[in-house]
Amino acid sequence: MIDVNWLAFSPPLTLLISASFIVIFALFVTDTRISAVLSLVGLFISFGFTVVLFSQVQDAGMVSSFGLRYLADSMSLGFNMVIVLGAVIAILISFDYLRRTGLEHPEYYPLILLSSTGAMIMAAAGDLITLVLGLEIMSLAVYVLSAWRQNSRESEEAGLKYFLLGAFASAFFIYGIALTYGATGHFDYAGIAGVLAQESFNQVRLATLAAMFLLTGLGFKVAFAPFYQWAPDVYTGAPTAVTAFMSVVVKTGAFAGLVRLFTLLIPNISAVFVQVLVVVLLLTMLIGNLAALQQRGIKRMLAYSAVAHAGYLGMAVLAGNLAPSAIVWYLTAYTFMNTGAFAVLTLITDNQDHGDTLERVAGLGSKRPLLAAMLTLFLLSLAGIPPLAGFTGKVLVFGAALQTGYVYLAVVGILTSAVAVVYYFRPIVYMYFRDVEYEPINHTSPATYVAITIAALGTILFGLLPGWWYALLRGGEQLIANM
């Protein structure tokens, strides 16, 4: 009989229901700000369920639903929290932003919620079909959001590019699923792992090939090299609020899928896969950081930095049972600092999201000191300067890689982060060490301020007191730990 644990499934379900409700609601009430508030309520309820589950998980190990096809363990719940956090901040950023830029359309917030739902499903997926569905739910919503600004070439391009390449990559992923099935006869992780672990298993090559295709599909979403090229263009072209959202939530969802899938696959398929992954990560870190060095626009720089951070996160994937906690932790920090940075950007760029070049922020330190200070804080954290959250995240990820023996990976990672410091510092240099060159744009938005405050507090507090969250993430039982 099918066991359906509704509580386990409640976080995404709540979001789904809220989304549906808001869509219908929007037919009658046109003010999107009410939708935003409703979305926030939905997210909080979802968060509440997550917390309840989380405390259960701490005591009772994993909670699953639909057989082992939906897994609520401390890892997926951790991811859920990050997703909720990212969505909340994104919504706060969007609150005034949409109105200001004329992008107020009723489906915006439902799509954000649906995308978050998809990401949560990816995090909890216990089989490949669920995973790909979650992936598609998340992606389709984000494709649409990227193209949200229809009167802008950039946004339109971003949407179409993202969609075309995304569909292309999904095709690889789906083909990978087919091959996995061919090799193992299963879609569910438990079954796959069972077959792979058998002595008599003789389809290693096919399984490895499948893993490669799966890597291509998910690697596209998290922007691993050489599948990263969409990211800078899409991040730049999409409305900044959407960029903030997808830079964290999409990444979280994709990494959630990646971690569970590959920690399961890696031990049982050809070692060459790990080597390939290592090369991919090296390339990702190198390209992300080096290309970011060239950028004059902060948004685009952050896009490349997102590529680089994907590389760092990927390192933890290799770390076996250390991986989930390290990755969730890192993503928590990343969500705070990255959305924070984008939030600041929305306040200093014009309605077309232009004006994020370095020259434009020159002298911001004296014109808008608080905002500049906040941006500085986020950039420093992204650069991995202690005692901010980004540092601890890096330490955990690199530590995990070192602990599993990927020393040179960690070395390259850290060296490239040294390069990264240069480009993260450049805006700071411009903001503080130069005089004003342009009259700054003076947007104000209480909701965005709230978002920035949350992000800043998170960046600082998680940096100063990293221990409790990590301990929670390590608590409970996780699927991968069993395997």
Partner: protein
């Protein structure tokens, strides 16, 4: 079937290409029959070749898309693409056809798949894939909301948007 597929990617007129894809999909349906997946074969014909492809053709006609403009600015891309594709194709074939175990006896196949009828598929779908099935609904919902949200807006003229052009070019 391969001819159909090649047609999809070579025919200059989008309508021709789409029709070529329809042909491919229909061929595929026959292959499904040969593989004891009767239900899927029918779905393939009805939903894919029928509904989805009609949608495609509709959009092609609606938007009045003309023939593919040819290689365009990236002349080097096409040969490179062919090269890479040949590598991918050959390597993929080589990889997937290695070490395949022998087929089970036809009786076993028949017994297990039961011709891939709706009943068999339904059982699988609603036992193991019940979550997935639900999620398909969510996915479609998302697709619909997304599509509607994009298409249903009031159009803003491009000129208007273009005059609000950037403070400075983003590229440097």
């Amino acid at each position: 079937m391969i001819v159909g597929a090649v047609g999809v990617i070579t025919l200059k007129q989008p309508v021709h290409a789409a029709l070529s894809l329809v042909g491919t999909l229909l061929t595929l349906a026959t292959i499904y029959v040969g593989l004891e997946a009767h239900f899927l074969a029918s779905i393939q014909v009805i939903v894919y070749a029928g509904a989805i492809m009609v949608l495609f053709l509709f959009v092609i006609m609606l938007l009045n898309i003309q023939q593919d403009p040819g290689p365009g600015a990236f002349k080097w891309l096409r040969p490179a693409a062919y090269g890479v594709a040949v590598v991918v194709g050959l390597a993929l074939i080589a990889a997937v056809t290695q070490n395949t175990p022998p087929l089970p006896a036809p009786e076993i196949i028949d017994a297990t798949l039961a011709g891939g009828g709706p009943e068999a598929i339904g059982t699988a779908l609603f036992r193991d894939f019940v979550l997935a099935f639900q999620l398909v609904g969510v996915l479609l919902l998302t697709g619909i909301i997304g599509a509607v949200s994009l298409v249903q807006r009031k159009a803003v003229s491009v000129q208007e948007a273009e005059t609000e052009r950037p403070l400075e070019a983003v590229s440097s």
